[in-house]
């Protein structure tokens, strides 16, 4: 058994770290959301990959089949995907409104605008 036997886990970990890195390192709000989606995708793979049994068929009872793949992860991840879509749609909607309110979707520009607004407020 070598490390490569678990390649699906390696892919999962790669996606997980890559997604999280984009969320943290990028200042663009859209890019952050893309990173977030990649991060969530890693979880889908984490659940789905172990559900597949080698030699197993689709989990529908039929004559002549003994080994079935596990259907539960698929159902769970269908739910998780829906949650992910809802989050992404809401995030994008917020970004659209941030763009309308601030005229930018770059984190540093918005924070600068916010700081100067706070300074004006104080004086």
């Amino acid at each position: 058994m070598s490390a490569l036997d678990h390649y699906s886990y390696w892919v999962t970990i790669f996606l997980l770290v890559a997604g999280l890195f984009i969320v943290i390192a990028r200042g663009n709000f859209i890019k952050k959301l893309i990173g977030l989606s990649i991060f969530q995708t890693s979880v889908y793979l984490l659940y789905i990959a172990p559900g597949k049994l080698i030699g197993g068929t689709a989990p529908i009872v039929g004559a002549g089949f003994q080994v079935y793949s596990n259907p539960l992860p698929h159902v769970l991840i269908l739910t998780a995907i829906v949650v992910g879509i809802a989050t992404l749609a809401l995030g994008l909607a917020l970004v659209v409104r941030i763009r309308e309110a601030y005229g930018s979707i770059e984190e540093d520009e918005i924070l600068r605008a916010e700081q100067s607004a706070a300074r004006d407020d104080a004086t």
Binding site: Q40, L46, A86, G91
Partner: protein, 494 residues
């Protein structure tokens, strides 16, 4: 027909059904009526469940009549029954408050959306508290979180959008960490029912994936609970949200997350695995003390009263987790009772600050000079709530801090007991900032013209405030419930 045995599921389903109903009728007033009715039902049902739990111990409800562990199970013991009562109490006070507050703060076209989302958030929070299924817990967590992101963004202030976006990013990272943890547990045990996971963990309790699951769950839940240093989303979110939303979320959302942490630590992994084999107690202890001191100090330097209260919330979460970190009956009782007391106190405070902002149009402290002359009742209320945050005898905050000090002494650490008292002194500093400005500065032209906020805002806040004082003078009810909850948790896997 429907009878009392279905209360655990009705607790979640009634608010969940009310949300689409409000969207269908599209009316702000009807929406308010439906949301208030749902909240009151939630409170009544939670009280009935609490009494039933105290009689029989554990209630189990099989969704779809599929017996656990195959189907989704709703499982209520003393710990989550107590959470439900806190949720119901806060929700049924905030809903009447929302009537006047929402009309002042949210554009008219969005009123019905506010009440629909309010019901969704309530359903989600209630669902987290009742469910006994790990994945179901994640789904309810996301329902409540998505609803709260939108609720925060409904405010007119553009900074609310930014706060909601930041909360969305960090909240989603937290939730994803939780699913990863749950997934690893599922891989190792083949089940999602919390009680079943606990019983099957047996031999693999020390296996690497299970420990990784513990780590992922701890970080994910801590993000949701705003445990220091993962609290960065909280001040912005609470400071810029509409007042009713701040009150609801500050009093319930982070508290429910702390409950989830307790559930995983004590009922799934087990006390020995978390606190003896792994150094989670020490980690929690260090973070709690850091939260108590750093966040309290940060609160003392805020210029906005809502933001000040938000930082104070971070500190108070530190007190709750401090009690948890001892993993003793006294410590847990203190933590859980503080969870309740602080929820009630902070809910009242956010509502009162919202009432000030209703008249003043701002929650900046420097604009509140001499406010006590024009709004004596409101300001007195904030002072009473502030005394509760400090932990002055006669307020609910004193009871919980007393138990935390007792637990620290029981654990043999005078230093921690001293830190609890010392950090309360920092709380004096931040409460004093408001008192100094509102009571000892001459009123400005602006504040001199103001009148007391309307009764529609003051009465609900007063009810919560009275509750916080009542539970400070006569703590046997809350202490009894909290002690029952601590015992249920310490009894280990159910």
């Amino acid at each position: 027909m429907i009878d009392g045995t279905h209360l655990p599921v009705l607790q979640v389903v009634v608010p969940l059904l009310c949300a689409p109903l409000i969207v269908l009728v599209r009316g702000g007033r009807i929406g308010w009526a439906i949301a208030t009715a749902a909240s009151v039902f939630f409170l009544a049902s939670s009280l009935a469940i609490l009494l039933e739990v105290q009689r029989v111990g554990v209630i189990s409800y099989a969704i779809g009549s599929w017996p656990p562990p195959w189907g989704i199970e709703y499982r209520i013991d003393a710990a989550n029954a107590f959470m439900l009562v806190l949720l119901g109490l806060v929700a049924s006070v905030v809903a009447p408050y929302a009537w006047a507050s929402v009309r002042a703060e949210i554009p008219r076209d969005n009123h019905y959306l506010f009440y629909a989302l309010y019901c969704l958030a309530l359903a989600g929070l209630g669902g987290i508290a009742v469910t006994g299924d790990a994945f179901n817990l994640f789904v309810f967590l996301e329902i409540s979180s998505l609803a709260s992101y939108v609720l925060i963004a409904l405010d007119r202030d553009r900074r609310a959008l930014l706060a909601a976006y930041q909360y969305l990013i960090l909240g989603t990272i937290g939730a994803t960490f939780i699913v990863i943890g749950v997934g690893l547990l599922y891989l190792m045990t083949g089940t999602l029912n919390l009680a079943d996971i606990a019983s099957r963990l047996g031999d693999v309790r020390q296996a690497r994936p299970v420990l990784a699951a513990l780590a992922f769950l701890t970080v994910g839940i801590s993000l949701k609970a705003a445990l220091f240093p993962l609290h960065m989303w909280l001040p912005g979110a609470y400071a810029h949200a509409p007042s009713a939303v701040s009150a609801l979320l500050a009093a319930t959302a982070t508290k429910v997350s702390v409950y989830v942490l307790l559930r995983f630590y004590f009922s799934v992994f087990g006390t020995t695995a978390v606190f003896a084999a792994m150094p989670m107690g020490d980690v929690l202890l260090a973070l709690s003390i850091a939260a108590m001191i750093v966040a309290s100090a940060a609160a003392a330097f805020q210029t906005d009263l809502k933001r000040l209260l938000a930082y104070s919330s971070v500190a108070q979460i530190g007190y709750i987790t401090l009690g948890v970190s001892f993993a003793t009956a006294t410590g847990l009782t203190g933590g859980i009772v503080h969870l309740f007391n602080h929820g009630v106190t902070k809910g009242a405070l956010f509502m009162l600050v919202g009432a000030i902002a209703f008249r003043l149009g701002s929650s900046r402290i420097d604009r509140m000079a001499g406010l006590a002359r024009s709004m004596p009742l409101t300001c007195a209320g904030i002072v009473v709530g502030g005394l509760g945050l400090i932990g002055v005898p006669g307020t609910a905050g004193f009871v919980s801090k007393w138990y935390l000090v007792l637990a620290a002494i029981e654990a043999g650490s005078w230093v921690i007991a001293f830190v609890v008292v010392a950090s309360s002194l920092i709380a004096v500093a931040y409460v004093w900032r408001f008192v100094e400005v509102a009571y000892f500065r001459p009123p400005s032209e602006e504040t001199a013209r103001l009148k007391e906020p309307p009764a529609a805002l003051l009465v609900p806040a007063g009810v919560l405030l009275a509750a916080s004082v009542y539970f400070g003078v006569e703590p046997s009810l809350t202490l009894g419930a909290a002690y029952g909850a601590a015992e249920a948790l310490l009894a280990g896997p159910r």
